[in-house]
């Protein structure tokens, strides 16, 4: 159709697209209001072509990068390309129209060149306050998506460059922290404006036809390279099962079943046989399940392949409707994106442990440990809300121990520093934030350590949680042991000893609940699970065990029991 683009220009354009996405992120970080944006970077920035194919992304949240493909495609299907005019900005967060979950808001803007739509720039970000039944959303005992926040189908929040005031008014009236929402939305818009400007510069420099050809070629390069990578995995049909321990409403466990077929240059992930959808908010919509599988395959293949739609073409996902991996309206979905997603990704690694033992990892802690809270600032009276999450231990891998305390594989967010946390939120003081010895699963290559955080309540606050791995273990592989479980506990002011929220407040689940009011002096303890071990712990280099003991990563008692360590030198 068009002449091939010379290799230098192709590289320049690829890097210009990626660095545009990266700079969109920097703008959001520098100008936004909520720590979940500006400290945690819980957002992603992407460029699409008019067919809804992802052209480029910068490295933010893998789960968002996978789901936004569906958010955008379904939006374009629903509205049609004619709905877009220069200067329009679309806002959207409805999971049953392709959003990952309700807190995740996407903004989409068409980039026009010489009067015609050339591409879309988009970002998706986790809003700290979506107007759910409890502050911060992710209510652990929601039973319908309506309880998870204000649902926005794709609507124009800007039309031809002008704010649509009615839409703003509806949103700001429904969020507990309208000022923060306003600041974060403005940051998202600024990032889209920057991307539009960068695309215009690129088009002016290289010409529309060259940029278009380059984009097409980059998609093909990615697909070709991805297929070659998949061919390096032994063909076969592989199985793995895991379970979501409960759903906040029932005490039932929800098994997930994966049949993974590697056929020449294609991968088919079939979840047939997985449990019916949950009553509570641990369901994944189809886009989330697909995104989790993409995430696994991208982690197993050459990281230098351009990260665009071409990577996804050789991957097929089968997820029967009405199950926990493809739930039906109006089931609640908040935890599907934070909790079920990393577990699905880990299942792909588990399935392939014998096929490509040199490439996979044991299970990570597998939970984002969502802890939500909100209240009124005692000094100013302003309402605040926050989505707090934690890292986990990662699984051991051949030749390397798992990393300690890193966010689960579906995200790549940063923690909120204690100093930022306490400055922004008057409700807690953080007394302890540390690694926990012995939390890494024993193995020739040890699982990474989880940790604990202890918070003292300093002003009345309403809390919710949506954690996992309080009842099940992060599994090891190839005879490696499990990592330690996590969880959440409470110690009321004036009493002593940690109790579960079931024991103290009669919640249905110890790890998934919402709207609990705490008073000054109460203490909350969050424990983050460790990663699974890889290989037989008795094969571990004794020198590494000694190092672990000396650094306090493993106690002497566990070193003796798990690794056959000779004990305290005398």
């Amino acid at each position: 159709m068009s002449a091939a683009v010379d290799p230098v220009t192709l590289t320049v354009i690829e890097n210009a697209l990626t660095s545009t996405c990266r700079d969109m992120g920097v703008t959001m970080m520098k100008t936004s209001y909520s720590p979940i944006f500006n400290e945690s970077l819980d957002f992603s920035c992407v460029i699409f072509d008019p067919e809804g194919q992802m052209l480029a992304q910068a490295e933010f949240c893998p789960s968002q990068i996978g789901t936004i493909k569906f958010t955008v495609t379904w939006t374009l299907d629903e509205l049609g390309l004619d709905a877009f005019e220069p200067g329009d900005v679309l806002l959207h967060n409805d999971p049953y129209r392709g959003s990952g979950h309700v807190p995740e808001h996407m903004m989409l803007k068409g980039v026009f060149w010489e009067g015609k739509l050339f591409c879309f720039v988009a970002n998706v970000a986790h809003m700290s306050e979506p107007g759910a039944k409890t502050p911060g959303g992710l209510s652990g005992d929601a039973t319908e998506v309506f309880q998870e926040g204000l649902l926005l189908p794709p609507v124009k929040i800007k039309r031809r460059g002008e704010d649509v005031d009615d839409i703003w008014k509806i949103i700001l009236a429904n969020h507990r922290t309208p000022k923060v929402t306003y600041g974060d939305f403005r940051a998202m818009m600024a990032s889209l404006d920057l991307a539009e400007e960068r695309m215009h510069e690129l088009l002016a420099t290289y010409g529309e036809e060259t940029v278009r050809s380059a984009c097409r070629e980059l998609l093909e390069v990615a697909e070709r390279r991805m297929r070659a990578e998949i061919r390096s995995i032994p063909r076969g049909v592989y199985h793995f099962e895991d379970v979501i321990e409960d759903d906040g409403i029932t005490d039932r466990a929800y098994p997930m079943k994966l049949t993974l077929t590697v056929a020449d240059d294609e991968v088919i992930a079939d979840f047939t046989g997985s449990a019916p959808q949950a009553v509570g908010p641990v369901n994944a919509i189809y886009a989330v399940t697909a995104s989790a599988v993409y995430n696994a395959v991208l982690h197993l293949t050459d990281p230098t392949i351009p990260r665009n739609e071409g990577c996804y073409r050789p991957i097929t996902i089968i997820a029967p409707p009405g199950t926990i991996v493809n739930c039906a309206f109006p089931a609640p979905v908040a935890g599907g994106n934070t909790e079920t997603s990393p577990r699905i990704t880990d299942m792909v690694f588990g399935a392939l442990q014998h096929a490509i033992p040199e490439r996979i990892v044991a299970a990570c802690g597998g939970t984002s440990s969502p802890f939500l809270f909100g209240g009124a600032d005692p000094e100013t009276g302003d309402l605040y809300a926050h989505f707090h999450f934690e890292g986990v231990g990662w699984g051991g891998r051949r030749g390397l121990d798992g990393n300690d305390m890193v966010v689960t594989i579906n995200g790549n967010c940063r923690n909120t520093p204690v100093e930022v946390f306490e400055t922004r939120y008057p409700s807690f003081r953080i007394d302890r934030y540390r690694l926990l010895a012995d939390s890494g699963g024993p193995g020739q290559w040890r699982g990474g350590l989880g940790g604990e955080r202890i918070l003292t309540v300093t002003a009345p606050v309403t809390v919710s949680a949506l954690l996992n791995r309080m009842k099940t273990d992060p599994w090891g592989v190839l005879t490696g042991g499990s990592g330690a479980r996590g969880g959440i506990w409470i110690e009321r002011a004036g009493s002593e000893g940690w109790r579960t929220f079931v024991e103290e407040f009669g919640t249905l689940s110890p790890s998934k609940f919402s709207g609990i009011r705490l008073e000054p002096g109460d203490r909350v303890r969050i424990v983050m699970p460790g990663g699974g071990g890889y290989g037989d712990p008795h094969d571990r280099d004794p020198e590494m065990v000694t190092q672990d003991v000396e650094n306090g990563f493993v106690t002497i008692e566990r070193a003796v029991a798990d690794y056959g360590y000779p004990g305290e030198p005398r």
């Binding site: 490295e59 923060v180 982690h299 890292g391 305390m405 966010v407 934030y433």
Partner: protein
């Protein structure tokens, strides 16, 4: 060129891994003198004294000495700093290990979280104390327990102590008390305190920075101490200064007390030189390539300005929050060693022969083949004119060093030498891509600024491979970093940190504080020997209330009033709108800190060559090897004998004492009026416009 200079001379000395470069400027005559001498890694200070002697400079006549050093850089890269004990708020001992919980790249299961500079997790010790976010005491500092801890530490003879307490940037009292206790119980042990090193919020970034500072302190203290002694013995009376990573200078004692500020000391001078030379040549947009003996540093100059950042990382995820000029370093220099990897592939660097033993051809005992040995075999450098003839290179030794590798690789020696040069060029091209392409800058729109002893030898090939249309070779390229140091102004920054909202800021209080830190800044300038009229700038770091990242907006220097504050708020809105495309009128602005910058301008050298009419430009031609063309007879010229306006077609060689410029076939070199050389590479094909 070695006749001695009059009093009042300014000297810049840049010590690299292989060579120590000197540039001296006599403000009376406007003359520049340059000298290159070998570095002495075992006694880095001696190299400075030698350089002064080689330049025939009487230290007593020196009015200012600015030194760029790689002592800190190397200790951080090679992890050879001190064993640091970290004293940190109890309950938060694992801050250096937990870090920010994100990953360097997505989709890489082999990634390993970086290790902190601490030697053991047990070296991070909790101290009972706690402030809240307003700086109010929640838990008083347990002095007795801290004393106990210090006494226990004394037994193990700690090398350095770092202190970081939560919210110390709001209220430094606990840190100051702890510092006093440590100094009393552990006399002589260097202590770094977080609110002094980096008064920023975010405990991980501040902890990492203060640990790095303590990590460098014993080393930098010894270095500055011994150098001060040797320079004093030589008769230096002027205070001497060290180049900071941000392109300013600080007194040597101050550098010993704040060593982390020198993490990028060496390369900063080169970037100052690049900006000035580029503007002078009408080429304000530059990619810079500083290739010395040990490493190559690449950077970018946009519109005549360096890119500044505060995001220095010792490695990914281990930050040191210091202001610096953005530079990327790789292990590719003349001394980089060529070797074969396990898979049989030919590799060059990052290991370097450094100053000792140096490349084989130096005849100092080196036996492993280096890039310089390869260049010599290819006729690209003249064995009789290295360092202007002050060092003879031995072709036989180079050949002997290359021979075993040639046999292993199944190549003849010339083919091997040519491949080594090619691989070194590719490594540098990759680094240049990182600062240009990866940030969305098209290298074809830039000129390549080539300096360092080896830069002009390799630049034309690198430029052609990347289709960079022009190469700019400054005057005295082998000493450009040292010359850049002569361009640095004295600069003192003072900060007062106190949060206000724009609705309730006290103009009178701000005025008093600005006056206080301005006077302190001027006093520091005077202490550095500056007698002139300082230029003073005030700025306030601000953000919209709720944002987490602030930036500086200017406020008129002088009496602060509600009106001038309003001007600053307006300026903030303007900058915000320019950077991010919007402003929020009537939004409350949060004032975070107040900064005074006092600059003492120094007499700058005129960057012009003084052509030597005595010497004839043309030298006997020689055979030089070019990849793809083989050996070609190439004209040889002495650089400073060529009149401006000269046009030379490649292949040819332009020689000077500190460097050699190679003009490849098909390219043209032009001598500019100021004596700089531009090489037209004719390589910018494929551009639309």
């Amino acid at each position: 060129m070695n006749d001695s200079l009059a009093a009042g001379v300014q000297v810049g000395i840049d010590t690299g891994g292989t060579f120590t470069d000197l540039a001296a400027f006599d403000p009376v005559t406007g003359r520049i003198v340059t000298v290159k001498t070998p570095s002495m890694p075992s006694e880095p200070g001696s190299a400075l004294v030698n350089a002064l002697a080689a330049a025939n400079l009487d230290p007593a006549s020196v009015e200012g000495l600015i030194h760029g050093t790689t002592v800190a850089t190397n200790a951080l890269i090679e992890r050879t700093g001190a064993r640091v004990t970290l004293l940190i708020s109890a309950g938060h001992e694992d801050v250096p290990y937990i870090q920010r919980i994100n990953r360097q790249t997505l989709y890489n299961l082999r990634w390993q979280k970086p290790r902190p500079l601490l030697r053991s997790r047990r070296d991070s010790i909790g101290v009972e104390e706690r402030l809240d976010s307003h700086g109010r005491v929640v838990v008083p500092l347990d002095r007795a327990a801290l004393e106990q801890t210090c006494r226990a530490l004394a037994v193990s003879e700690p090398e350095a102590v770092a202190i970081c307490f939560l919210f110390s940037y709001v209220n430094p009292e606990h840190e100051l008390e702890a510092k006093a206790i440590v100094e009393r119980v552990l006399p002589g042990v260097p202590v770094s305190v977080s609110h002094e090193v980096a008064p920023i919020w975010r405990e991980y970034e501040r902890t990492s920075t203060v640990v790095a500072d303590a990590y460098l302190k014993p080393l930098m203290g010894r270095y500055v101490g011994s150098l001060t002694r040797s320079l004093g013995e030589e008769g230096l009376r002027a205070p001497w200064t060290i180049m900071k990573s941000n392109g300013g200078v600080m007194r040597a004692e101050a550098a010993a007390a704040n060593p982390i500020q020198t993490a990028q000391s060496g390369p900063a001078g080169g970037m100052l030189a690049a900006a000035t030379f580029g503007v002078q040549a009408g080429l304000p947009d530059l990619l810079t390539l500083d290739m010395g003996g040990t490493s190559a540093d690449v950077g970018i100059i946009l519109g005549g300005e360096q890119r500044h950042t505060t995001e220095y990382e010792i490695e990914w995820g281990v930050p040191a929050a210091i202001p610096l000029i953005d530079i990327k370093s790789i292990g590719a220099g003349g001394g980089s060693i060529a070797w074969q990897d396990a898979g049989g592939l030919l590799r060059v660097g990052p290991e370097s022969a450094r100053a000792t033993p140096g490349p084989a051809c130096y005849g100092l005992g080196g036996v492993r083949p280096t890039v310089t040995d390869a260049n010599l075999m290819l006729g690209r450098i003249d064995p009789g004119y290295f360092l202007g003839g002050r060092m003879r290179l031995d072709r036989g030794l180079a050949e002997a060093a290359l021979a075993p590798l040639a046999a292993d690789a199944g190549m003849d020696i010339v083919e091997l030498a040519s491949s080594i040069v090619e691989i070194a060029n590719e490594n540098m091209a990759s680094a240049i891509k990182m600062v240009s392409l990866e940030r969305g800058y098209d290298p074809r729109r830039f000129a390549l600024f080539a300096f360092g002893g080896a830069g002009p030898l390799h630049a034309a090939s690198v430029a052609r491979a990347m289709r960079i249309p022009k190469v700019l070779v400054p005057l005295y390229p082998g000493n450009a970093s040292a010359m850049g140091m002569l361009l640095a102004d004295l600069r003192v920054d003072k900060v007062w940190t106190q949060a206000f909202r724009s609705t309730e800021v006290d103009a009178a209080l701000v005025d008093r504080q600005f006056t206080r830190i301005r006077d302190a800044a001027i006093a520091d300038l005077r202490a550095e020997g500056f007698a002139g009229q300082p230029s003073i700038a005030y700025a306030i770091s601000m953000r919209y209330l709720g944002q987490n990242y602030e930036f500086d907006a200017p406020i008129p220097a002088g009496t602060v009033t509600p009106e001038t504050l309003q001007q600053a708020f307006d300026a903030f809105g303007d900058i915000h709108a320019e950077r991010y495309g919007y402003r929020i009128d009537n939004e409350v602005i949060e004032l975070v800190s107040f900064r005074v910058t006092a600059a003492g301008a120094r007499v700058k050298p005129r960057l012009e060559a003084t052509p030597d009419a005595q010497e004839s430009a043309a030298r006997p031609s020689r055979m030089v090897h070019f990849r793809g063309a083989g050996f070609l007879e190439s004209a040889v010229y002495r650089r400073y004998a060529m009149p401006s306006g000269s046009r030379l077609s490649g292949p040819c060689v332009i020689e000077e004492a500190g460097s050699t410029t190679l003009v490849e076939p098909g390219t043209t070199a032009i001598v500019l009026p100021d004596g700089q050389i531009v090489i037209e590479t004719n390589a910018a094909g494929g551009m639309k416009r």
